[in-house]
Amino acid sequence: MSLPLLTILWALPLAGAVLLIFLPKERRDILYGTALTFTGLVLALAIWLFIRFDGATAGPQFVERTAWLGGGVQYHVGIDGISLVLILLTAFLMPLAVLSSRNAVSSRLKEYLFFFLLLEAGIIGVFAALNLILFYVFWEVVLIPMAFLIGVWGGPRRVYAATKFVLVTMFGSLLMLAAILVLGRLSAEAGGAAAFDILELHRLAIPAGTQTWLFLAFAVAFAVKVPMIPLHTWLPDAHVEAPTAGSVLLAAVLLKMGAYGFLRLALPIFPDAAARFLPALAALAIAGILYGGCMALVQKDIKAMVAYSSVSHMGLIMLALFSSNIESVQGAVFQMLAHGLSTGLLFLLVGILYERAHTRSLADFGGVARVMPVFAAFFLVASLASLGLPGLSGFVGEFLCLYGIFGAHSIWAVLAVPTVILSAAYLLGALRRVMHGPVADDRVRGLRDMTWREIAVTAPIVVLILWLGLFPRTFLAKTEASVSAAIRLIEKRDRIFVRTSAPATEAARGEFEERRR
């Protein structure tokens, strides 16, 4: 019997978090060492999984399935290519995020790291869960530590930002919870063997009317997370107030949970409803691309600028998902990685600047490239990756997205394409105001360039950005089969219509009611 690798993967950071509780809080080195060790182990295991993963197989791999809670709810985890690369992204960024916090976090370090590890456990769980209840538990686990990271270690308006974050995402989550419960009942009526099982729900034929309401509930929950306009306003606040490492994970991974939710649940479980709402959702995605870009153009705070750029980039990812062909969805998944890396790097760099200058206002800088040349070079690479310069990660994702979107509806691509102009405008505009021009004042003149530790944190991301740009097939090959399987589900090609006979339904409902009581 093989090791339960996926369970180990999410349990490792949890174990680390528990271990932290028993460590003395004054010994910062030990706390850091522990957090770094555990996130490092997770990364090693994730890489191992990545290597072992068979990209040619569509179904979930490393599957574990055991009886868990009563009533047929199983502990069911497994990853396909899409989950795999998102888990790898998470595992890759986590040690870097921990390392980057060394100077930034002065108080309550133990609790800070505790929440971080808890966050990692939650994220991995979300991407690995194949049971809706399990998925929901992990989904909520992610929410809480992030809210605390913002609310306790954030900037001046942290409490407001954290509250807004919790309330808005909780609002979505509750809708999703209600929908999950209804889904469980439906699957029980259909005589499914395992309750709330995602793979079974994928094959369940749900009446169109019911689909509509359930889909909307899921869609709102995920659209909040992505975020799609007009549900995006929690994001700039959360980003501006969050500590650097929090912003990194928020942008790089948490937003992807929304897109993942659409791809894994909302679109394949409710294909009819999805098809019905597709034009509206695509319109929102396009609006997000352009709106996010225009808003990024006029931001005064660098972090807010990057936050709105995420709204724009995620809009393109969503539009590609809604185009549902292999190229577009491959592009969307790849762009999730690329955006995670470039935006993560941007947030790390803004954090480095903020630690020195204690301001993020574009107007306060000028001539930074003269005093911090290495920093300027890193910032340039991050910006170029983000604006989709060929040779770097962003281009492959962006081009595949546009290709797929064009193939589905060429007019969507025409409407989305101004993003290449807008992204260059706001990123190079910020670059010019911060890096170029005469050295602004003595405060800027006194800034010291990046330290070796900071280079060690950011350089791996640059290497990966280049790798993704030059050798994208490393990742595309792992996701292709999974993506085409997902598309078959969305297009209902694999759907098996589960016949529901009345007595069975009654029995199932009875059993269900009994369980609830």
Partner: protein, 632 residues
């Protein structure tokens, strides 16, 4: 053995080393790395070109796949090169002129702080440009296309502490991106119409009738949008004059000889598509002819030596597009080659002037320099004779090739525009020569004392380029002067078929040569009258029609129009939307009026005990209750 795929390797490697280690290397080593790598690339180019010539006629030229790059569903893009005569001409120009300018730069930039940074970008540029011209498909071409744009951005903004330079770099990138948005869509249209991004597949689809005429036109026009950005044609020409903020060798290499010709190269590469579309070729010709005259009129009144040359570049690029548009693709490429020589010569000579005059750019404060800088003067004069189209100098042949193709194709209006442009070109160039090098010295005394001829690292490239600018025309002698003397066109024939080019006939060919020569002579003569014979005349003219003079001086106010019509409304509307809509409406709705807000407040207040343990406990409790509710 075919070694053409090795051409970009050395500059790429050198760029990589300079980016990573540049700051810790000695200047000497940087110099050797930078120049040596381009010299290696030039040698490989020469060898490959000779090999190609030896094996002439063995078409088709195979694409060499180096790396299978992107694969997703039906989409595939490879890193693959194809070395054919057109690519051979381009790599020779890029590495040849590039090498000379690298050498020149070692003298010109000798005292710069960012020496390694400069050469890193210059090497990266050479690498990207080679990728652009060697690519066998659109996707890889786009890699080079954007790569040269990046290097242009970095080098225009080389003196980034100067706000104008930083701004000019950004403007160049942004204006190019507008064109590139069209370029991207053009690639997509072709990809879906043809099913492949390979140039050979597009050519096959066109010749096999597998693509509808309307689709071909759409794709060709979208691609041309990218070309108007890169090659600074109307309406996207506005970035090039500002790009003169960069170091002068950069203006010579990137903003005159090579990068800005990428658009012309692309159109020539896709000649089958443009010819098939017809409409698209017409648009190319019209935009080119209009730009040629438009930019030349602006150059008439400018006083900044580099800006005059910049508008002249825009104008000459217009000629190249005019050539391509009327079906004379080989003539367009011919002018591209001669222009690369004489325009980089002019820029480098102008750089030598600036070097001598402590950075002076205004020709009103020059004068009489021919005695002080004889070598530079000779070089500049040869460049001027070439660009003005004085017979036997290179520009004469290439411009004549374009104009006679326009005439022979029946495009009389375009031909007349080209002829008018030729008069204007000769006029503004000789105005520049007379004002800067002839007449009395108008330099300030401090500057005058320090005037000196440039070091040999700068003058040797000037000498070589002078030779090329004078003689390069002999590779394209018109048919009337010798059968089979048109070497370039015959060399390019496998890529640019010489099909049904209407021949003008020998008498009209002589007529064309005569008119072109007269046009150049007219411009020269007028410049002599205005700036040598009666120096008071220009001021009288300006006073006679002040409105026109001001409009020309302001470059027709295109920048101001774009600011007022595009930039300011977009930023203003975004600002307003952000304040009123994003912060006001949506945020307000999310924050919730009334009950929701109070609820949030109460909830937040009771939650915020400040003790992490409470939070953790609450979290645990919540999860337990939730699970219990679900399962029990």
């Amino acid at each position: 053995m075919d070694a053409s795929w090795l051409i970009p390797l050395a500059p790429g490697l050198s760029a990589f080393l300079l980016i990573i280690f540049g700051r810790s290397l000695s200047r000497r080593l940087v110099t050797w790395l930078a120049c040596g790598s381009v010299a290696v690339a030039f040698s490989f180019s020469l060898l490959s070109a000779l090999r190609l010539r030896a094996a002439a006629g063995s078409v088709p030229y195979p694409a060499r796949i180096l790396l299978s790059w992107i694969r997703a569903g039906d989409f595939r893009a490879d890193i693959s090169f194809r070395f054919d005569p057109l690519a051979a001409v381009m790599v020779l120009v890029v590495t040849g002129v590039g090498l000379l300018i690298h050498v020149y730069s070692t003298g010109y930039m000798a005292r710069e702080k960012g020496y390694a940074r400069y050469f890193a970008a210059l090497n990266l540029f050479t690498f990207s440009m080679l990728i652009l011209v060697l690519a066998s498909n659109f996707i890889l071409m786009f890699v080079g296309w954007e790569g040269v744009g990046l290097c242009s951005y970095l080098l225009i903004g080389f003196w980034f502490e100067k706000p104008a330079a930083a701004k000019a770099g950004m403007k160049a990138f942004l204006v190019n991106r507008i064109g590139d948005a069209g370029f991207l869509l053009g690639i997509l249209v072709l990809l879906f119409a043809v099913g492949s991004a390979e140039f050979s597949a597009v050519d096959q689809a066109v010749s096999g009738g597998a693509i509808a005429k309307s689709t071909a036109t759409l794709a060709a026009l979208l691609l041309f949008a990218g070309a108007t950005g890169k090659s600074a044609q109307i309406p996207l020409h506005v970035w090039l004059p500002d790009a003169m903020e960069g170091p002068t060798p950069v203006s010579a290499l990137i903003h005159a000889a090579t990068m800005v010709t990428a658009g012309v190269y692309m159109v020539a590469r896709m000649n089958a598509l443009y010819a098939f579309s017809g409409t698209a070729a017409g648009v190319v010709a019209a935009v080119g002819a209009f730009t040629a005259v438009f930019a030349a009129t602006i150059a008439l009144v400018q006083n900044d030596i580099k800006r005059i040359l910049a508008y002249s570049t825009i104008s000459q690029l217009g000629y190249m597009f005019l050539g391509c548009g009327v079906g004379a693709y080989a003539a367009g490429i011919f002018h591209l080659v001669t222009h690369a020589f004489f325009k980089s010569l002019l820029f480098l000579a102008a750089g030598s002037v600036m070097h001598a005059l402590s950075g002076e750019l205004d020709i009103r404060r020059m004068g009489g320099l021919r005695h002080r800088l004889p070598l530079t003067y000779t070089a500049f004069l040869i460049g001027t004779l070439a660009i003005a189209g004085i017979p036997l100098f290179s520009g004469f042949f290439s411009k004549d090739a374009i104009l006679s193709a326009a005439y022979a194709g029946g495009h009389r209006l375009l031909w007349a525009a080209g002829l008018l442009g030729a008069v204007l070109t000769a006029f503004y160039m000789f105005r520049l020569v007379f004002l800067a090098f002839h007449g009395g010295e108008r330099t300030t005394p401090e500057v005058r004392d320090r005037i000196h001829e440039s070091p040999s690292s700068m003058t040797v490239p000037l000498l070589i380029l002078s030779g090329l600018a004078a003689m390069a025309g002999w590779i394209g002698i018109p048919a009337v002067l010798g059968e089979k003397a048109d070497l370039l066109r015959r060399f390019l024939a496998p890529v640019i078929p010489v099909i049904r080019t209407p021949h003008a006939g020998s008498s009209s060919e002589w007529f064309l040569i005569l008119t072109a020569t007269s046009a150049a002579g007219l411009g020269l003569g007028l410049a002599w009258l205005f700036y040598q014979r009666w120096p008071g005349l220009p001021a009288r003219f300006a006073a006679w029609c002040p409105g026109l003079h001001k409009i020309l001086l302001k470059s027709y106010g295109v920048d101001e129009i774009y600011q007022a019509v595009l930039v300011r409304p977009l930023v203003g509307a975004s600002e307003l939307t952000y304040r009123r809509f994003d912060l006001g409406l949506i945020d307000g709705a999310v924050n919730g009026a009334g009950a929701a807000t109070r609820f949030a407040g109460r909830l937040a207040a009771s939650l915020q005990t400040g003790r992490i343990k409470d939070y953790a406990l609450g979290f645990l409790l919540g999860t337990t209750i939730f699970l219990a509710w679900i399962l029990l």
